[in-house]
């Protein structure tokens, strides 16, 4: 904590004023006026090595005089520390944009505009991003009803207005051909839309439009009790659902300040690593499928099915498992489950080898992946890359190592890093990560801690069914918790886990009620996808497909 003291001193000295520092639930918060935001951010980035802007969040407090709060979540790789910056604004006030300091702020600010109607000064492209262009009103404001739909009559025209000056280039006289891909295109896996200006086969300029799968996760979270939000988190990154469950529950637990029992921790690690494997399987398999290697896809999917079977044994569902609860897990794993996993690990090792043989030295695969979408570490950081995409540039940043949780620190595994940061390196990193995940699972499965799978606090966890039906106290506790709800204390917290795609963060604000007051997700692929138009410039259309596959964009968490 001395580093924060130091930071405070430095800041006060540099700006010659007393800054307001707060500490809520392990996180440090610095409150600023809108006027000084730019200079302080600049200073923090340049002299205090806060090189990551993880997420920008808006919160609405209708009863306050300054109704809105905007939070900037900063992270420093060098110091491994986080800092939250807050500004308070009224509706009509404009906030200076941070995107010239942190390019990744671009979309986050647009999202705040979309959801709250707050404007950012000098932002070149202050338009709606997630909701459709005919949408009226600002859905995340507290007075917008969660179920008020607005219909769209016409889809958005082809547009190229993502230029730094906000003006669309005139392409008529340049002999450029507009090309629209998506939002329903097989190679985009889901609902991404890319609009490109083609100079022959080359992409001269590209623009992306997102929001075709905006399912209002954050609003849904505000109108559901804490435990009922868990199924919604499943559907964020649906390729690796359990990881989202874990990320969300960890956040709520941090706010409640409880620690889950060792057995639950072990189960969560297993679920997370299994999900990491199947997420990478989808990523690699689908990328191979797009490049014409159908065998690779089927090969990979065989193993995915095996993991589904393991999930099914655990809880009955294949894809959307919702296995965690606030305070632990939902139930005891079935007999022999851990043994089955060990068996699977054995098979998976063979599976990874197969994929390796099929693809790694495959000439077509190499030619189509190497030198595509190259990005260096500095750029990657400024765009807010995390996960395999960042590590492929050579930076060794993995939250499982630098901010370990659930006992990752005591496990023996390594973090693979790449060298060039192209699509091929990302593939290699993913492949190696799968191997490491298998290694982790084996270690955990071989000595699962004994004990309970959940904490037994009657204000947090429902009693077991046999208690509810068997004795009056259990029945009462059950009733109380259902009626009264799980109520974390007032406060806020940001908690991040290393998901398959990168840092998955949840920012949770509680007002002491039974539902989250505000829940913001920091989806790892949101910042990554933002850089797509820049990375693809000058490449061929076919490279766009490769790049998209290597970035592993999952529409569910991108659009939420």
């Amino acid at each position: 904590m001395s580093s924060i003291k130091q930071l405070k001193q430095d800041l006060n000295q540099r700006f010659k004023k007393e800054f307001v520092f707060n500490q809520i639930c392990h996180s440090h918060i610095l409150e600023l006026e809108t006027g000084e935001l730019t200079s302080v951010l600049q200073y923090l980035k340049k002299y205090q090595s806060f090189d990551f802007l993880m997420c920008v969040t808006g919160v609405h407090y209708p009863e306050r005089e300054k109704e809105f709060e905007v939070c900037y979540e900063l992270f420093s790789v060098k110091k491994i520390s986080r800092l939250r910056i807050k500004v308070f604004v009224k509706e009509e006030e404009v906030i200076p944009t941070a995107q010239f300091i942190y390019p990744t702020a671009d979309w986050f600010e647009r999202e705040i505009y979309d959801m709250y109607g707050l404007k950012f000064k000098d932002h070149p492209n202050m338009k709606r991003i997630l909701t459709h262009h005919q949408f009226k009103g600002y859905p995340l404001r507290k007075d917008y009803p969660a179920d008020l739909q607005q219909h769209l009559s016409e889809s958005l025209e082809f547009s190229m207005d993502n230029e730094p000056d906000g003006k669309a280039p005139d392409f008529k006289d340049k002999d450029l051909i507009p090309l629209n891909i998506g939002p329903s295109h097989p190679a985009t896996h889901g609902t991404l839309r890319i609009m490109a200006l083609m100079d022959g086969e080359k992409i001269y300029r590209a623009n992306v439009e997102i929001g075709y799968l905006h399912r209002c996760f954050e609003k849904m979270a505000e109108v559901h009790p804490y435990n009922q939000v868990i199924p919604y988190t499943d559907r964020l990154n649906y390729c690796s659902s359990p990881m989202n469950n874990v990320g969300y529950c960890k956040t709520v637990e941090e706010l409640l300040d409880v620690e889950i029992p060792p057995k639950a921790q072990a189960m969560r690690i297993i679920l997370c690593e299994l999900s990491r494997i199947i997420d990478h399987i989808v990523c690699i398999g689908a990328a191979a499928f797009d490049l014409g290697a159908l065998t690779g896809f089927f090969q990979a999917f065989t193993y995915r099915e095996k993991v589904y079977t393991l999930f099914e044994k655990l809880c009955g569902a294949r894809l959307t498992v919702s296995m965690t609860r606030v305070g632990g897990m939902a139930n005891e794993p079935p007999k022999n489950w851990f043994k089955d996993i060990l068996q699977f690990c054995k098979e998976m090792k063979g599976g990874i080898k197969d994929i390796d043989t099929l693809l790694t030295y495959n000439k077509i695969w190499m030619q189509r992946n190497q030198k595509v979408g190259v990005i260096d570490t500095e750029q990657a950081i400024s765009w807010g890359y995390t996960g395999p995409c960042l590590r492929s540039t050579g930076l060794n940043l993995d939250l499982r190592k630098v901010e370990p949780y659930y006992g990752y620190e005591s496990l023996d595994f390594e973090i693979p890093v790449g060298t060039t940061g192209d699509a091929y390196d990302r593939y290699l990193v993913r492949l190696e990560e799968m191997r490491q995940s298998v290694k982790i699972i084996e270690q955990v499965c071989k000595n699962v801690p004994a004990g309970d799978y959940t904490i037994r606090d009657k204000d947090i966890v429902l009693p077991e069914k046999k208690e509810v039906y068997g004795n009056i106290e259990g029945l009462m506790n059950h009733f109380m918790l259902v009626i009264h709800g799980l109520r974390p204390p007032k406060g806020e917290c940001y908690s991040a886990t290393e998901a398959a795609n990168g840092e998955l963060g949840f920012y949770l604000v509680s007002d002491g009620g039974p539902k989250p007051y505000r829940l913001k997700v920091r989806p790892p692929c949101f910042p990554i996808y933002q850089s797509f138009p820049h990375c693809i410039q000058g490449f061929l259309t076919s490279d766009a497909i490769t790049l998209l596959g290597s970035m592993n964009i999952i529409a569910g968490e991108l659009d939420r």
Partner: protein, 177 residues
């Protein structure tokens, strides 16, 4: 080739060597349609991942004559809407549907496509049947692959029996929103 003598007696059906068989035209058409459904998977969300399993090695929709997945609406006759359709997506899906040539069928796979599912939310279409006519609804979130296969078989049965489809024949675009 040696000419075969065809007997016109009553036992002609037992005569397996006979090169003829008789049927009604509509039945033959239905038979061929049923066994070569070319699906277009309109996968948008989590159900789109599950449809991969349906087509994948373990469940293998190919066994039911519906494996030639076409991503072009003009080449396919069965649209499987797998995933949430948002308001932003609605005009696009109805345009894609219009591009499919007759006869065409639609399966709404999963709770979201059927009714909006548990997203009673400001940006989610409350069921794809608001914008295109649906033949079969498959419940589940996501439905198990078995259920999807059952849905495809239901369509096949519909085709075989030449069942009337009033909801489709009387469909007016834009009337149900």
């Amino acid at each position: 080739m040696e000419e075969k003598k065809i007997s016109l007696s009553n036992d002609k059906f037992q005569n397996l060597e006979s090169p003829f068989f008789t049927s009604r035209m509509d039945r033959i058409v239905a038979w061929s349609r049923r066994n070569s459904l070319w699906p277009m998977t309109y996968g948008t969300a989590c159900c789109g991942i599950e449809i991969m399993s349906v087509l994948g090695p373990r469940y293998d929709l190919a066994r039911f004559g519906a494996e030639v997945v076409r991503f072009s609406p003009r080449q396919s006759d069965l649209m499987i809407v797998a995933g949430t359709i948002t308001e932003k997506m609605a005009p696009i899906i109805s345009r894609v549907y219009e591009q499919m040539i007759e006869p065409k069928y639609v399966i709404a796979m999963g709770a979201c496509a059927s009714s909006g599912g548990f997203y009673r939310a400001y940006h989610v279409l409350q069921g794809v049947d608001k914008v295109i006519p649906v033949d079969v609804y498959v419940p589940g979130c996501p439905p198990t692959p078995e259920a999807v296969i059952d849905g495809v078989m239901a369509i096949q049965k519909m085709i075989t029996e030449n069942r009337p489809r009033p909801y489709k024949d009387q469909w007016k675009p834009g009337a149900y929103r």
